[in-house]
Amino acid sequence: MEKYLYIALFAPLASSLFVALFAARPKMLFTGIVASLLIGVSMIASFILLIDVNNYGPLHVTMMDWISAGNLSIPFGFVVDEVSVIMMVTVTLVSTIVHIYSIGYMDHDKSFNRFFSYLSAFVFSMMILVMSDNFVGLFIGWEGVGLCSWLLIGFWYHKHSASWAANEAFIMNRIADLGMLMGLFLIYWQLGSFQYDVVFANVKHLDPAIITTIGIFLFIGAMGKSAQFPLHTWLADAMEGPTPVSALIHAATMVTAGVYLVIRCGELYTLIPHVGFAIASLGAFVALFAASMALVNNDLKRIIAYSTLSQLGYMFVAAGLGAYWIALFHLMTHAFFKSLLFLGAGNVMHAMHDELNIKKMGGLYGSMKATAILMSIASVALAGIYPFAGFFSKDKILEVAFNEGAYFLWFALFIGAGLTAFYSFRLVMLVFFGEKEYKKQGLHPHEAQNFVIYALVPLGLLAIVAGFFEHAFHGFVTKLLRNYEIHIDHGVEAILIAATLGIAISGIAFAIYMYKRGGFPKSLEERACYKILSNQYFIPYAYERFIMKPFTALSHFFWVSIDTKIIDATVDLIARVFYKSGEKARKMQSGNLSDMLRWMVMGIVVLLIFAILYRPTV
């Protein structure tokens, strides 16, 4: 079975390297096809591994030694257990679809080949991240996906906004990675190993204060990658990248790496429930906070990005409260319907010639039936309506919050569920139904190519049926993860489900009702709360005002007064001293032998003086 492990891991690398050969050439169709095929191979290998793990248990291989210095020994080890195989399947499945989709989406882009190289490199990094059996490998993958994310957000680097967004994402992630590195150092310092099994076997013997510190530092890393408050601003700006990238990286896979980390370190977080509760609280806050921003935004992709943020908040609630398998389950279902939503949005963007303002769309159902249906499915799944995938996972998270007695969290998530339903259908209504605003711009939208739609169909199916795998999934992952049972009376449970379903349906109904009638009155946009929301709580302004400006001023100060006046001056001074002394000493070289001999004797005298002054005692 090791064979399949290596195939799953290295097929994306092979794809990336092969396509990279043609990166600088004009578009070649076969690069996209080869990349898609290789990623598909990786997906098939992942599925085989899934079956294998289900039948025979986890697979653990050590490919070779990577770093061994002194007591530090880090192998290139890979582990395929219940958690990582789920991640692998999710990642490769979505990646394959995104690759195929991209052949259509990037059709007219002159950097077609480069795009596929980056995308495959991303898949490889992500596989390293989820398959590694130690924290260092995880960190390598972590940085690899960060790098690929940077490359892909800034894919259209000639656009200033894109390169800015790429840098923002990268820098924010660096800040968070520092926290993660601190956590890793602390782990090694305390436990002397980076291997998951060793670490988790011994972590319980540590001082609780240290476990808490490790947990907090690791979560800071997760916060950056999963764009949790206050490091969330990069995710919305990352929508500058091509839409397949948003679907793959900023919805389905990379941003969930933080959740994966928390799930993977579940045994550590179980020991520190207070930190877990703080994570859950932050998650609930972000769930509500991001959903509220999504309510008023008019940018098609940003709405979905905020929705991603909000759903990540849900996952952290589950993970923080110890319901790791539920977090993983929501991660998986979310990957399916959110990437579907993004890819559908990509179709819409293409049809609208890169117009993103949903207020300028409307009535696209007529010309884009398939996309409309797929996006509606994804939206229903996102809103959490039975029997779609989102219902099962999201409802479980609400039950977890209720079960833990965290009624406040439950209430926040409950409201969040209503908001989610509302904004997702606001989007659907504004884009696909209502007035045909696009006609004012003289656009003639058309459906995407057929194979693009067919590529999306599996995701649509999964968005519908994934929820029914709940019991199988539960049985499978709890072999590794801590089981989490919900002990709520059946009556109460039924009421909860009904309430959640009720608020979701009413959110949908409200959205449909309002936008059927032409939306909200304009006067609403003058309200203070609308302004706060549409300006993202003024957080980007605050960052610019209170962090970037002072930092720029400080940098300028250091440049002008410290660098040029002290450091440069010192360096110049040294250079000048040598220059001047060289000019003076030049006269020594008169070319006259007598003079040279005199200098030589002078040297002898100096040496003799040294010999007298410095006589080593025996």
Partner: protein, 100 residues
């Protein structure tokens, strides 16, 4: 009683005389003479040390120094003659090609 110090001081003095010659003379032939003085001063030192420590290495070093001096003179004189033939002088101040 004559001690090692006596010999070494004598060697030092002879060496200093050699140094005077090396610095003062501008005639190349005289410069060669001065270097011979330097070498001989060192030889005295070696042989004296050899005697007072009862070790033959000093004498052998002096022996090799004599050999080196002999070859130095052979080559040096050859060059000197060449220079004289070309320039008609063996004065040091005519040797200034190296001036930068």
């Amino acid at each position: 009683m004559i001690t090692l110090t006596h010999y070494l001081v004598l060697a030092g003095l002879l060496f200093a005389i050699g140094l005077v010659g090396v610095m003062k003379r501008t005639n190349l032939l005289m410069l060669f003479f001065s270097t011979e003085i330097l070498l001989n001063a060192v030889n005295i030192g070696f042989v004296a040390v050899s005697k007072y420590y009862g070790d033959l290495s000093g004498q052998l070093f002096a022996f090799f120094i004599i050999a080196v001096a002999a070859s130095e003179v052979a080559v040096g004189l050859g060059l000197l003659i060449l220079w004289y033939k070309r320039n008609g002088t063996v004065d040091l101040n005519s040797l200034q090609i190296m001036k930068g």
